[in-house]
Subunit: 591 residues, 2 copies
């Protein structure tokens, strides 16, 4: 392990001093070194061949994936985002950034802001309060599936050090890619009879994959060898390393659907960060990464330096019909085009959920005080049963039998102007589900309802959510769902099998060293328990990060700090739609 | 001819009485019979096989083409349009309806209103002031190409009669159809190097065509016979007629690109209406119809009643790569599936522009007083030279070297709130082009500029526009462009060859019986002169009705009645975008 204990001690002391009077969760660190970083971005469709097949993708400033933002903790980021699409609105969500004090910069259409109209712009200004590996992506319709994403890397503030050492670093942004355009995908998902979008055509690593050919063709007979020029848009990003060094590999998954397993041939990896939070170092042969998650791993180039090695990203949790995404670890001075001599790493079987659970349970908060511990008691606990249902014959996902349909007026503006009950359902959605619900079987009554009410939390209260999985409409199947919470990190108190029961499961919850994250998986037929502090005034999405599942209603909205929201100075440009737009126009007459 | 002179006389007298104190152009007819017609429409993408190939098309209430509106002159139409698209805005333009007093109902994004956001609605309320054959279509991005269109038929007011007789009527809405989705088409058109969208895959008649097969396969060897169930979405609309009757055929062209030639095998047609205005009856074997135009023809079922006959719509003016759209005139009681025994009508050669010009010159105003005559003199005359140009290497169309880019703030709202120079260019665009411009050659300096200034006309002044065609960027080519004016009909004073010169051409302009229309073609290397009265306060698009050409900048904006605009009570919902949205939100603080 490369963690230098002396450096770490110094850092802990520094942090303790800095934080002595501050609430870690509510006051972002400001230092003399903080900077403003300004970006001018334009979103547009571009022609691109992400997997050697030309398609239209969403680009930023002509790039796909979008430009990487690199900042230091404490920096203020300003992105002036111009929408150059012709008829579509757009927003960008800064995944993992908590947006304390700037909930209107969270970039979720219908929740934090009006979508930016075609031809208009919106200024996102927000502080990156914590070092870590993040990413950003579209959060309107299925724009993430359309390719609107990029990396957001936050380094530790000047004068501070990470609690581990490395000689160099690489960044891998993972995604999955369909050849069918997202407008068609969206119609398919709303059709009766239902049309599933199917498995992706390709897994992309930094926006690059290979369809219908393989970099590793000599090791399998399923597809021919790729013949790709090194400047081709689908040529793999080669990671050039020197022998006997330690590298940090930052990995984030912006997939629309796929859970992935990442491995480096012949090399072990030591996990040190998850979703921008330090974790207790754990060494693995491969790692599972679900959509919405990020990790940092360290690896040492201690293998035969005359060879190159595969890095692979394979589909997990669904019967894979998509070949692994591949790229190459290139020991210098070997040729980058010299292919590895052994086959790509073999991931665990796609349905080996025990391996997945074992992996997830290994992720624990770093010992010491760099990662805060959860309050010992919750003020409120809600249960969210996710079921697959039908509404008017159309297949939907629901939470406690409510399938989310986002309203045209964003919640944040609606809450500020007291439009509850007009802009969205006045009634709060249910906090639980019938005790006798049999999660092992398809729903007895498959019918569900549309809704868009919100869960309201007492400001600064401690909230538990028990995510409860169940059988889908078809018999004998329960899916994997990675759930992402906006505006917060949460502690993962535990995963369990079957239906959560307090009598049996309460005592097994981990309050000692639960990992702090923003995304967590719920396994088939299982439950996941999380805890967070409702200390961030705003309206926040909590949803399955599988884009077609969210499209089908798999999400809820959390509201906290309503009094603070009413006093917020929300930028005009976040409000010019729906009832807030009309209200304000109407007010003009009284001006 | 079926025009009964007695009926006609009675009608003329009635109209003279009704109009005695009214300005035909400014006061819409109200009568005791006027009705309100209300429609609830929802726009959404749907799966549909317009030409036997499944695709995603824009539908209204699940229908493609959208529902036909049928009303009587004087009726007030209210369409509550809900946008069920997920990320796109939408508007609907009521093509040919002048919108006197309701310019915010013209349905042109960026001009008359803000596009309706996803999930929101807009209420179009407007009077249909004149009987005729109209249609409606999307007017945002390339939504017409996406299939957003339908028919709008206005009958004469109760108690009045058309100046011709018929026993029954049919309605044919013509369009062209691409398999490539419009988002890709739009990106292609903005690419460098330029990618032309190519010729359409199919010509549709009432939304129905046949790709890669032919109803008339026995007469050609190019494609196989279609095997289509009669309930298939691509089965032709069969016109069932009785022998020895006279029928009115209403024809409107919503094509994105194609100029068409329509013919009924073995039957002559008598033109009686063009764009909602009566024309002097003229009998033809076939008719040219450009995008944006409409006609009514009368035909008599005087042919061998034991047979069926083809109705064909063939591409004109561009080298046709698309087979004709076909449907069947079915003499009862013959089987509708009994195919005609002779080949489909043969249109004039695609590049026989003399035939086209000869046809266009035959269209003249109906004698008598049903169609008003133009003022003898103009107050202002502007020349619009259309050229193909480049801006930053991207191919554009320009008028007097300005390529129109629509602004995010609609002109109508911007003008009301005095945002000239902020919402759009303060400077008016040029009214002429250099005298020495050689229209027979590619532009010497191909570079052009983006712009969005407006032409401002004195209220109620008489305006002439000379549309001047020229050679495109490539040598030896000049294209056909059908120009459509919103908010007005205009008189077509004439068409001519080469560059318009007042010395030579002024005297040949037709001030006696020019046809009154809303769309007019400009022929290759030629000019077209029109006259209209700027009597409709509002901001009005005047543009090439070829959708990709408009997308590439081929349009201008006319403004008239600025004092009236400032006093208009524009609905709030037309204003909640761009600078009007921000201005109004900002005003809230001062309220």
């Amino acid at each position: 392990m490369m963690i230098k204990s002396c450096d770490r001690l110094v850092m802990i002391i520094l942090i303790l001093i800095l934080f002595s009077a501050a609430n870690l969760f509510e006051i972002s660190l400001a230092s003399a070194f903080d900077q403003n970083k300004n970006f001018q971005w334009e979103v547009d469709y571009i022609f691109r061949s992400p997997d050697c097949v030309e398609n239209v993708v969403m680009g930023i400033n002509g790039q796909f994936p979008g430009p990487t933002i690199r900042a230091k903790a404490g920096d203020t980021i300003t992105v002036n985002l111009t929408n150059n699409l012709r008829t579509e609105g757009v927003v960008i969500h800064w995944h993992g950034i908590k947006q304390f004090g700037t909930p209107w910069a969270d970039g979720t259409a219908s929740i934090s802001q009006c979508a930016i109209n075609a031809g208009e712009y919106y200024v996102y200004t927000f502080k990156v309060d914590k070092a870590g590996t993040y990413f950003y992506h579209g959060h309107f319709g299925m724009h993430r599936s359309a390719g609107l994403y990029g990396s957001l890397i936050v380094d530790v503030a000047d004068g501070l050090k990470e609690p581990f050492h490395y000689d160099g670093e690489f960044n891998l942004l993972l995604s999955d890619w369909w050849h069918q355009n997202v407008h068609e995908q969206a119609v398919a998902l709303e059709s009766n009879p239902f049309r599933w979008i199917g498995e992706p055509q390709s897994i992309l690593i930094n926006g690059r994959g290979q369809y219908n050919c393989s970099l590793a063709a000599q090791f399998n007979n399923t597809s021919g060898a790729c013949s790709i020029g090194k400047d081709a848009q689908c040529a793999p990003d080669v990671l050039k390393v020197l022998p006997n060094k330690t590298y940090r590999l930052r990995i984030a998954s912006a997939t629309s659907l796929s859970s992935l397993n990442l491995a480096i041939g012949n090399h072990k990896m030591t996990l040190v960060e998850a979703d921008g939070n330090y974790i207790e170092p754990v060494t693995v042969d491969n790692l599972d990464i679900y959509s919405g998650e990020s990790y940092s791993v360290l690896f040492t180039t201690d293998q035969d330096p005359t060879k190159n090695y595969w890095i692979s990203a394979s589909v997990r949790g669904r019967l894979p019909k998509t070949p692994p995404g591949l790229t190459i670890l290139n020991y210098q001075p070997n040729s980058p085009s010299s292919l590895p001599t052994s086959p790509p790493p073999i991931p665990p079987a796609w349905n080996d959920f025990n391996a997945s659970k074992s992996f997830s349970n290994k992720i624990l908060a770093l010992q010491g005080s760099l990662v805060p511990r959860p309050p010992p008691r919750y003020n409120r606990r809600i249960f969210l049963l996710n079921t697959q249902n039908k509404i008017n014959g159309i297949i939907k996902w629901s939470l406690n039998n409510i399938s989310l349909v986002l309203p045209p007026t964003p919640y944040l503006g609606a809450l500020k102007y007291g439009l509850d009950g007009k802009a969205f359902d006045k009634q709060n959605p249910p906090e639980n589900f019938p005790r006798d619900y049999d999660i092992m079987k398809p729903p007895v009554n498959p019918n569900s309802s549309y809704g868009n009410g919100v869960y309201r939390f007492e400001f600064r209260s401690t909230v538990d959510v028990i995510l409860q999985n169940a059988n889908i409409l078809a018999e004998g199947q329960s899916d994997v769902h990675p759930w992402h919470l906006h505006g917060h990190d949460f502690w993962i108190l535990g995963y369990g099998e079957g239906k959560f029961t307090e009598e049996r499961d309460e005592k097994n919850l981990n309050l000692k060293n639960p990992p702090l994250r923003n995304t967590v998986v719920i396994f088939p037929y299982g439950w996941t328990a999380i805890r967070f502090i409702a200390n961030n005034p705003g309206a926040w999405a909590f949803h399955c990060h599988i884009e077609p599942h969210l499209h089908m209603g798999m999400g809820v909205v959390f509201v906290e700090g309503i009094n603070q929201i009413k006093k917020m100075n929300i930028p005009d440009t976040a409000l010019t739609c729906g009832l807030t737009g009309k209200l304000l126009v109407h007010n003009r007459g009284r001006g």
